[in-house]
């Protein structure tokens, strides 16, 4: 027993060191960005400076500029995308999970957009938006996000419904004595205490991807209103004055 313990002890120590290193590597850029955001332009040229006179100018510039508006736009796009995905994807996922509708074809067909590089969809979506005189509005951005958020969301929900115990569902059916749709709803409500996390993660995950994808925004818009995500950090880092190439977006 004792020998076993003494053999695993150094391994554990090495493991702890590795994890600690990884944590430091992850945190290092954050710390540096926060420090930089409090520096004046002249302090910035000395990247090693840790002690300096912090100024809030950059943050004030950022918050009084167009960032809050951009942020609101991002949130709106994220919200619309997730809402549509939830409305359309949830019943479909339930149907695929419980009734195996369409067999393997629907199950894996959904993931096709994950395979297709977004570059393929960029040109047609841009042209469609252009012909419908929609470029410059939020709608093409939402649609573009939907092309990959909706499949991911549905995929998440399928595995979530797959994991639901069957007896809860039959119990709900007895309880509700109602149609299948209602039992489906019931089953979600009943399982909620235990299954909130997957639902939340299913909702949050696309939400985060959603707010990330500059590619789409930049491409379908051809305008610089969509600098939002890009600017938040860059501006916070005080390069608001640097020529971040807004005109070329």
């Amino acid at each position: 027993m004792k020998t076993g313990k003494s053999r695993t002890e150094p391994i554990k120590r090495v493991q702890a060191v590795v994890v600690l290193l990884a944590v430091l590597v992850v945190l290092f850029p954050y710390v540096w960005v926060i420090l930089s955001s409090l520096k004046t332009p002249s302090d910035l040229s000395d990247p090693k400076a840790v002690l300096f006179h912090p100024v809030l100018d950059n943050w004030i510039n950022v918050l009084s500029g167009s960032i809050p508006e951009n942020f609101a736009n991002s949130l709106l796009v994220g919200f619309l995308t997730v809402a549509i995905s939830a409305l359309v994807g949830t019943p479909a996922a339930y149907s695929i999970s419980q009734y195996k509708t369409g067999g393997r074809w629907t199950r894996f067909g959904i993931l096709i957009s994950e395979i297709v590089p977004s570059a393929v969809l960029v040109v047609p979506l841009f042209l469609i938006a252009y012909h419908m005189k929609l470029n410059g509005s939020l709608l093409p951005v939402v649609v573009a996000h939907l092309t990959f958020v909706l499949p991911v969301f549905t995929w998440f929900m399928i595995s979530f419904f797959d994991g639901l115990p069957k007896d809860i569902e039959s119990q709900a059916m007895v309880d509700a004595a109602a149609g299948l749709w209602r039992s489906g709803k019931w089953c979600c409500l009943k399982c909620c205490p235990g299954s909130e996390p997957p639902v939340y993660s299913a909702l949050c995950f696309p939400g985060t991807i959603c707010s990330t994808c500059l590619f789409w925004a930049a491409r379908t818009q051809k305008r610089c209103r969509w600098r939002s995500q890009a600017t938040i950090l860059s501006a916070a880092c005080c390069w608001g004055k640097c020529p971040w190439p807004s005109s070329s977006l």
Binding site: P29, P47, K48, Y94, S118, V122, V123, P124, L150, K222
Partner: protein, 299 residues
């Protein structure tokens, strides 16, 4: 418009459909409208000669665009860059993710905190990560070159030789957590019995790792690598935020090349053709992998 029309037209049809298909119908309609239609449209565009700068030019030209792409040395350079990027990034991510997952699996103290911190990079917008590293690694403003300088090393991270490697390391910083997450989930679901048996037989840690853990983990690893590789192929943000394909064309990747052709040179048809070559390539690879894995299942 298109969506409303089709859903209105199908309403009477939909009532006659079985219940489970009616639940699936909205998804199918939306997928056709936002995915299938644009995909086919893009395929159609790739056989024509649409350029934004020449609004009246719109003829069927057959495979001319594909031939142009095939003969374009820039295209092969882009493929080489993308392939290099994917290989460097994904292999590093797999190794680091596996090491970290093994370390985290048995960790008891600070378990949740470390996991939470390690997963954060995944949730930052790639464009912000790109900008962050653009300045962090910049020779004038960046801390990393400054620190390396203290040790007498001077590296220009965005020089022609290093830029692609630097970009892939940024990808590693951001996406190793994803690999870690998948591998950790895989590790925690492994059965205990083989390990107990091995320990009874007196197997060492290294032996257990190479003969039990890695073979048992290989399905998870394949899926994780596949997902990451497909995702890394779509790299755009880092290139766009940091190098814009430069220096020269050293870091032009597929997605960036499509963007440049389509929206820089306004040659929409050629951009579509390039994108479709990628789709075809990815499809072939995936079908091969799926075919092999289903054949394995049937045995």
């Amino acid at each position: 418009m298109r969506k409303n029309k089709s859903s209105g037209g199908r309403r009477s049809v939909s009532l006659s459909l079985p219940y489970e298909w009616r639940m699936l119908l909205p998804l199918l309609i939306v997928m056709v409208a936002i995915l299938a239609y644009p995909l086919l449209y893009s395929f159609w565009i790739s056989f024509r000669n649409i350029e934004i700068t020449k609004p009246h030019q719109n003829q069927f030209v057959g495979l001319v665009q594909y031939a142009k792409v095939w003969q374009d040395p820039a295209y092969w350079n882009v493929l080489k860059n993308t392939f290099g990027f994917v290989c460097m990034a994904v292999s590093m991510e797999l190794v680091l993710g596996m090491i970290l997952a093994l370390c985290l699996k048995n960790m008891k103290r600070y378990r949740n905190v470390t996991r939470a911190i390690l997963l954060t990079p995944m949730f930052i917008t790639p464009i912000a990560v790109g900008l962050m590293f653009r300045y962090l690694l910049s020779t004038q403003l960046g801390l990393v070159p400054a620190l390396l300088h203290l040790f007498g090393i001077s590296i220009d991270f965005f020089s022609a030789n290093m830029a692609l490697f630097s970009l892939s390391m940024i990808d590693v910083w951001q996406w190793t957590p994803f690999m870690l997450l998948m591998l950790l989930a895989g590790l925690e679901n492994l059965p205990e019995e083989p390990y107990e048996a091995a320990r009874v037989d007196g197997a060492g840690s290294w032996y257990i790792l190479t003969r039990i853990t890695i073979p048992l983990m290989s399905p998870v690893m394949i899926v994780a690598v596949l997902i990451r590789a497909l995702d890394a192929m779509k790299v755009f943000e880092y290139v766009y935020a940091i190098t814009r394909g430069g220096p020269g064309t050293a870091t032009e990747t597929l997605q960036y090349y499509v963007y440049k052709t389509g929206f820089g040179y306004y040659n929409l048809s050629k951009a579509s053709a390039v994108a479709w070559t990628v789709v075809i390539f990815v499809m072939i690879v995936l079908i091969l992998i799926l075919w092999r894995s289903t054949r394995g299942e049937q045995r």
